[in-house]
Amino acid sequence: MGQTHEVRTQKDDVPIRDEDVDREFKYEVAGHFGGEGLLRCLKCGACSGGCPVGAVTDYRPRKVLGNVLLGLKDLVLSSDDIWMCAACFTCEERCVQEVNFTDVVTILRNMAVREGHASQGYLDMARTVSQHGRVTPVTHSVQRMREKLGLPELQEPDMEELTKILSAAGFDKILAIYTGRDMSE
């Protein structure tokens, strides 16, 4: 002791302010299918303890859950954190409260996508699928390798069915949010 610490008194230093809080946010998330478990979260941290991404970064699933429960909607939806989950489902497997964090992250990502915060990598994959029906288009050299291995010729994906599904699901409108936007910069 005996040391003097700078005392934090400025209002600006308060990490969370009323105007940042959306009290309805957690109910909005919990209202989506798969999100029901959110309100059961005890913030015990078992999710963070088993997280393989947390092992190499300061990403913590518990922090994401905490921020959602606090109602920090804008912060959560615009943050990179929700895109750092590798979907290994370890937290979901271990959670005693069956919060299903991975499903909660899916809901948060879906919301963020509608606000223009989609991951560029995932968008690129979705565009490839919407154009080719598969995430990796088949090249001539792959066709030759398949022949050499005695594998049957690959059937073309049914683009007519796929296009109708994407359109009926409203996915066109989601992709349209990002049309002409070069996010690789």
């Binding site: 750092m84 590798a86 979901e92 991951s119 059937q155 796929l162 599904i165 994407l166 009926a168």
Partner: protein, 302 residues
């Protein structure tokens, strides 16, 4: 026994994954399982697509299930990502009638119908549960005695177990039993059940590298003849990603071949390394092949 089969996007179209398809076809044929490819299969829209829009993802996955339902067959897949997608469709349709209705509406607009009657099965679980160790052993031609393998179950075949209903994921044993059953040693090592970071490829490559590096360092310390992966993403990470990790982090002695799970069985069933695509892998499998004491006729040059 007859099953519909969905291969997924990656398995039939990436150089180092073609051996997964080749070995699966050979193994199932050897075991007398008849398979019918899903006609004009489209992407199962796995977790990355769920991240963009879960409803679109479910409807796309349901498209391939609808084709299996039309044929009156259950749906087998070697791809853990596909397996996860198909299981999620059935689970969601059962648990949320409103979502079921929405998925069926979307399918109807594409002239399709899915009532949720198709069981999705993972290849490895199918081999263990429906074929069984006794039959597998009776079909063995070559004992893999002396080969030390590091098996990675991967995440999406097992987790969460309440959705996938195979085995609790923390200490699974069934896939090890098959490997041990054909004579090889399935080595336990630290980190073999941990995520490879595969789904971070494309969103954050540096992060995907950092996670993968941990896995490869663990595997390297285990002194394996080969890793064995079940999941396509695990293979892409550990096999194709190995050189990147070796150079980026300066791990000089990193050189671990990575087999696809059914390739182990195919070798035990007497197929040559060449016909199951071992020469297609990014990390050379030649040391492993030499250890299998192949005769030249069996294609030891792979």
């Amino acid at each position: 026994m007859k099953m519909a089969i969905a291969w997924g996007c990656l398995v039939p179209s990436r150089r180092s994954l073609l051996g997964y398809e080749a070995a699966t076809r050979k193994v199932l044929d050897h075991l007398g399982v008849e398979i019918v490819d899903i006609p004009n299969e489209t992407c199962c829209a796995p977790f990355w697509m769920q991240s963009l829009d879960i409803t679109t993802s479910l409807a796309l996955a349901a498209r391939n299930l609808a084709k299996a339902e039309q044929m009156g067959l259950d749906l087998l897949t070697p791809c853990s990502g596909c397996f996860h997608s198909y299981k999620r469709v059935n689970h969601t349709m059962k648990k949320y009638p409103g979502v079921k209705e929405r998925i069926q509406d979307i399918l109807r607009s594409a002239g399709l119908r899915y009532d949720g009657t198709v069981e999705a099965r993972h290849l490895v679980d199918f081999l263990y549960t429906d074929i069984g160790m006794d039959v597998i052993k009776s079909k063995m031609v070559r004992n893999l005695d002396g080969i030390e393998l590091g098996l990675r179950y991967g995440c999406h075949m097992l987790k969460p177990h309440e959705l996938l209903n195979i085995e609790y994921s923390e200490r699974p044993t069934f896939a090890d039993e098959i490997i041990e059953g054909v004579g090889a040693t399935s080595k336990q090592y630290i980190g073999r059940h941990r995520c490879c970071g595969g789904l971070l490829r494309g969103t954050d490559d540096d992060l995907a590298d950092d996670v993968l590096k941990e896995r490869l360092v663990d595997a390297n310390e285990a002194d394996l003849d080969s890793l064995v992966t079940v999941c396509s993403l695990c293979h892409i990470q550990h096999d194709m990603g190995q050189r990147i990790i070796k150079n980026k982090y300066g791990i000089e002695d990193l050189d671990i071949p990575v087999l696809h799970y059914p390739q182990v069985l195919a070798l035990a069933f007497g197929f040559s390394p060449k016909e199951i695509g071992l020469q297609q892998h990014t990390v050379s499998t030649s040391k492993l092949v030499a250890k299998l004491k192949m005769t030249a006729k069996e294609g030891g040059e792979a």
